[in-house]
Protein backbone atom coordinates (compact mmCIF):
# COMPACT_ATOMS: atom_id res chain seq x y z
CA UNK A 1 0.00 0.00 0.00
CA UNK A 2 0.96 3.62 -0.37
CA UNK A 3 0.23 6.37 2.12
CA UNK A 4 -2.65 7.99 0.27
CA UNK A 5 -6.35 7.55 0.86
CA UNK A 6 -8.91 8.53 -1.77
CA UNK A 7 -12.17 9.78 -0.28
CA UNK A 8 -15.44 10.42 -2.08
CA UNK A 9 -18.16 12.47 -0.43
CA UNK A 10 -21.62 13.44 -1.52
CA UNK A 11 -20.83 16.94 -0.24
CA UNK A 12 -17.24 17.98 -0.96
CA UNK A 13 -17.44 21.15 1.08
CA UNK A 14 -18.83 19.31 4.12
CA UNK A 15 -15.99 16.80 3.92
CA UNK A 16 -13.44 19.59 3.72
CA UNK A 17 -14.93 21.31 6.76
CA UNK A 18 -15.05 18.01 8.70
CA UNK A 19 -11.41 17.24 7.93
CA UNK A 20 -10.26 20.71 8.94
CA UNK A 21 -12.30 20.57 12.15
CA UNK A 22 -10.67 17.20 12.92
CA UNK A 23 -7.18 18.70 12.73
CA UNK A 24 -6.28 17.91 9.15
CA UNK A 25 -4.28 20.46 7.20
CA UNK A 26 -5.16 21.38 3.63
CA UNK A 27 -2.06 20.99 1.53
CA UNK A 28 -0.77 23.61 -0.80
CA UNK A 29 0.00 23.20 -4.45
CA UNK A 30 -1.02 25.11 -7.52
CA UNK A 31 -3.57 24.33 -10.21
CA UNK A 32 -3.93 20.65 -10.97
CA UNK A 33 -1.31 19.81 -8.33
CA UNK A 34 -3.35 21.38 -5.55
CA UNK A 35 -5.42 19.52 -3.04
CA UNK A 36 -5.05 16.89 -0.42
CA UNK A 37 -5.07 16.85 3.36
CA UNK A 38 -2.85 15.40 6.01
CA UNK A 39 -2.94 15.14 9.77
CA UNK A 40 0.13 16.42 11.64
CA UNK A 41 0.11 13.35 13.88
CA UNK A 42 0.43 11.09 10.81
CA UNK A 43 2.71 12.92 8.36
CA UNK A 44 3.37 9.77 6.34
CA UNK A 45 -0.24 9.59 5.17
CA UNK A 46 -2.43 11.82 3.06
CA UNK A 47 -6.06 12.10 2.06
CA UNK A 48 -7.18 13.07 -1.42
CA UNK A 49 -10.70 14.29 -1.94
CA UNK A 50 -11.95 12.79 -5.18
CA UNK A 51 -14.61 14.87 -6.87
CA UNK A 52 -17.77 13.40 -8.28
CA UNK A 53 -19.75 10.30 -7.34
CA UNK A 54 -18.08 6.99 -6.55
CA UNK A 55 -16.98 5.31 -9.79
CA UNK A 56 -18.96 7.88 -11.76
CA UNK A 57 -22.16 6.81 -10.04
CA UNK A 58 -22.00 3.27 -11.43
CA UNK A 59 -21.55 1.57 -8.04
CA UNK A 60 -24.63 -0.12 -6.63
CA UNK A 61 -24.88 1.75 -3.36
CA UNK A 62 -26.78 -1.13 -1.75
CA UNK A 63 -23.52 -3.09 -1.91
CA UNK A 64 -21.39 -0.56 -0.04
CA UNK A 65 -19.64 -1.97 3.01
CA UNK A 66 -19.66 0.01 6.24
CA UNK A 67 -16.60 -0.77 8.34
CA UNK A 68 -17.03 0.18 11.97
CA UNK A 69 -13.76 1.44 13.42
CA UNK A 70 -15.11 2.55 16.78
CA UNK A 71 -18.68 2.90 18.05
CA UNK A 72 -18.53 6.52 16.91
CA UNK A 73 -16.59 6.17 13.67
CA UNK A 74 -16.88 4.16 10.50
CA UNK A 75 -15.75 4.23 6.90
CA UNK A 76 -17.62 3.05 3.85
CA UNK A 77 -15.83 0.93 1.26
CA UNK A 78 -16.83 0.02 -2.28
CA UNK A 79 -17.86 -3.57 -2.99
CA UNK A 80 -14.99 -5.81 -4.05
CA UNK A 81 -16.58 -6.28 -7.48
CA UNK A 82 -16.08 -2.56 -8.16
CA UNK A 83 -12.47 -2.70 -7.01
CA UNK A 84 -11.76 -5.67 -9.26
CA UNK A 85 -13.37 -3.90 -12.21
CA UNK A 86 -11.34 -0.76 -11.53
CA UNK A 87 -8.06 -2.67 -11.43
CA UNK A 88 -8.83 -4.58 -14.63
CA UNK A 89 -9.64 -1.33 -16.38
CA UNK A 90 -6.39 0.21 -15.17
CA UNK A 91 -4.51 -2.85 -16.39
CA UNK A 92 -6.17 -2.55 -19.79
CA UNK A 93 -5.29 1.13 -20.05
CA UNK A 94 -1.62 0.69 -19.23
CA UNK A 95 1.31 -1.00 -20.91
CA UNK A 96 0.74 -4.76 -21.20
CA UNK A 97 4.09 -5.34 -19.53
CA UNK A 98 2.83 -3.82 -16.29
CA UNK A 99 1.05 -6.59 -14.45
CA UNK A 100 0.42 -5.17 -11.00
CA UNK A 101 -3.18 -4.09 -11.55
CA UNK A 102 -4.06 -7.46 -13.05
CA UNK A 103 -2.38 -9.23 -10.13
CA UNK A 104 -4.33 -7.07 -7.66
CA UNK A 105 -7.61 -7.91 -9.41
CA UNK A 106 -6.86 -11.62 -9.44
CA UNK A 107 -5.84 -11.56 -5.78
CA UNK A 108 -9.05 -9.81 -4.76
CA UNK A 109 -11.08 -12.35 -6.70
CA UNK A 110 -9.34 -15.17 -4.84
CA UNK A 111 -9.76 -13.54 -1.46
CA UNK A 112 -13.44 -12.76 -1.88
CA UNK A 113 -15.54 -15.45 -0.20
CA UNK A 114 -18.42 -14.66 -2.50
CA UNK A 115 -18.83 -12.62 -5.63
CA UNK A 116 -21.90 -11.58 -7.57
CA UNK A 117 -20.57 -12.61 -10.97
CA UNK A 118 -23.38 -10.92 -12.89
CA UNK A 119 -22.67 -7.63 -11.15
CA UNK A 120 -18.91 -8.15 -11.45
CA UNK A 121 -19.04 -8.68 -15.20
CA UNK A 122 -21.41 -5.75 -15.63
CA UNK A 123 -19.02 -3.46 -13.75
CA UNK A 124 -15.97 -4.77 -15.63
CA UNK A 125 -17.68 -4.01 -18.93
CA UNK A 126 -18.74 -0.58 -17.72
CA UNK A 127 -15.16 0.23 -16.74
CA UNK A 128 -13.89 -1.00 -20.11
CA UNK A 129 -12.07 -4.06 -18.81
CA UNK A 130 -11.95 -7.65 -20.01
CA UNK A 131 -13.73 -10.18 -17.74
CA UNK A 132 -11.76 -13.05 -19.26
CA UNK A 133 -8.62 -11.73 -17.57
CA UNK A 134 -9.92 -13.14 -14.31
CA UNK A 135 -9.86 -16.62 -15.84
CA UNK A 136 -6.30 -16.26 -17.04
CA UNK A 137 -6.98 -15.37 -20.65
CA UNK A 138 -5.01 -12.29 -21.58
CA UNK A 139 -5.65 -11.31 -25.16
CA UNK A 140 -3.14 -8.47 -24.95
CA UNK A 141 -0.40 -10.89 -24.12
CA UNK A 142 -1.64 -13.34 -26.73
CA UNK A 143 -1.44 -16.20 -24.28
CA UNK A 144 -3.06 -18.03 -21.47
CA UNK A 145 -1.86 -16.75 -18.16
CA UNK A 146 -2.18 -19.07 -15.21
Amino acid sequence: MTGDFDVVASNDEALKVALLESGFIHEGGLGHLAGGFYHPDFPNYGVEQVSGPLFDGKTDRARLITVSITPQASIVLPPVEDLIADRLAQYGAGPASEQEMLLQAQEMRRLARSLDLEYLHKRIREEGGDPDLLDGTDRRQGKEQK
Binding site: D4, L33, N44, G46, I69, E100, E107
Partner: protein, 65 residues
Amino acid sequence: MIVTLSDLLSGIRERKAELGIVDTPERTEAMRNKGSQRTPSKRAMLARIEERALAADIAPPKAYF
Protein backbone atom coordinates in the same frame (compact mmCIF):
# COMPACT_ATOMS: atom_id res chain seq x y z
CA MET B 1 -23.42 -4.62 5.01
CA ILE B 2 -21.85 -3.52 8.27
CA VAL B 3 -18.71 -5.15 9.68
CA THR B 4 -16.25 -4.19 12.36
CA LEU B 5 -12.68 -3.46 11.30
CA SER B 6 -11.36 -6.28 13.48
CA ASP B 7 -13.79 -8.79 11.93
CA LEU B 8 -12.90 -7.59 8.44
CA LEU B 9 -9.17 -7.97 9.03
CA SER B 10 -9.45 -11.32 10.79
CA GLY B 11 -11.63 -12.58 7.94
CA ILE B 12 -8.98 -11.62 5.40
CA ARG B 13 -6.26 -13.28 7.47
CA GLU B 14 -8.32 -16.47 7.75
CA ARG B 15 -9.05 -16.49 4.03
CA LYS B 16 -5.36 -16.09 3.20
CA ALA B 17 -4.56 -19.00 5.48
CA GLU B 18 -7.24 -21.16 3.80
CA LEU B 19 -5.79 -20.37 0.38
CA GLY B 20 -2.21 -20.80 1.50
CA ILE B 21 -1.37 -17.23 0.63
CA VAL B 22 1.81 -16.05 2.29
CA ASP B 23 2.67 -12.41 1.95
CA THR B 24 6.29 -12.06 0.97
CA PRO B 25 8.18 -8.90 0.01
CA GLU B 26 8.39 -10.24 -3.55
CA ARG B 27 4.61 -10.77 -3.83
CA THR B 28 3.91 -7.38 -2.34
CA GLU B 29 6.32 -5.72 -4.74
CA ALA B 30 4.84 -7.52 -7.74
CA MET B 31 1.41 -6.11 -6.89
CA ARG B 32 2.60 -2.63 -5.97
CA ASN B 33 1.39 0.16 -8.25
CA LYS B 34 4.42 1.15 -10.35
CA GLY B 35 2.86 4.54 -10.94
CA SER B 36 2.86 4.87 -14.70
CA GLN B 37 -0.80 5.91 -14.77
CA ARG B 38 -0.83 8.21 -11.77
CA THR B 39 -2.29 11.65 -12.24
CA PRO B 40 -0.04 14.69 -11.72
CA SER B 41 -1.96 15.55 -8.54
CA LYS B 42 -1.43 12.04 -7.15
CA ARG B 43 2.28 12.15 -7.96
CA ALA B 44 2.55 15.51 -6.22
CA MET B 45 0.66 14.21 -3.21
CA LEU B 46 2.87 11.15 -2.85
CA ALA B 47 5.94 13.35 -3.14
CA ARG B 48 4.63 15.56 -0.34
CA ILE B 49 3.94 12.50 1.83
CA GLU B 50 7.51 11.34 1.34
CA GLU B 51 8.90 14.80 2.13
CA ARG B 52 6.84 15.08 5.32
CA ALA B 53 7.72 11.60 6.50
CA LEU B 54 11.43 12.08 5.94
CA ALA B 55 11.30 15.45 7.69
CA ALA B 56 9.66 13.74 10.67
CA ASP B 57 12.27 10.97 10.57
CA ILE B 58 9.58 8.40 9.72
CA ALA B 59 9.98 5.80 6.99
CA PRO B 60 7.45 6.73 4.27
CA PRO B 61 5.25 4.01 2.82
CA LYS B 62 6.92 2.77 -0.35
CA ALA B 63 5.37 4.31 -3.42
CA TYR B 64 6.34 4.87 -7.05
CA PHE B 65 5.46 8.29 -8.38
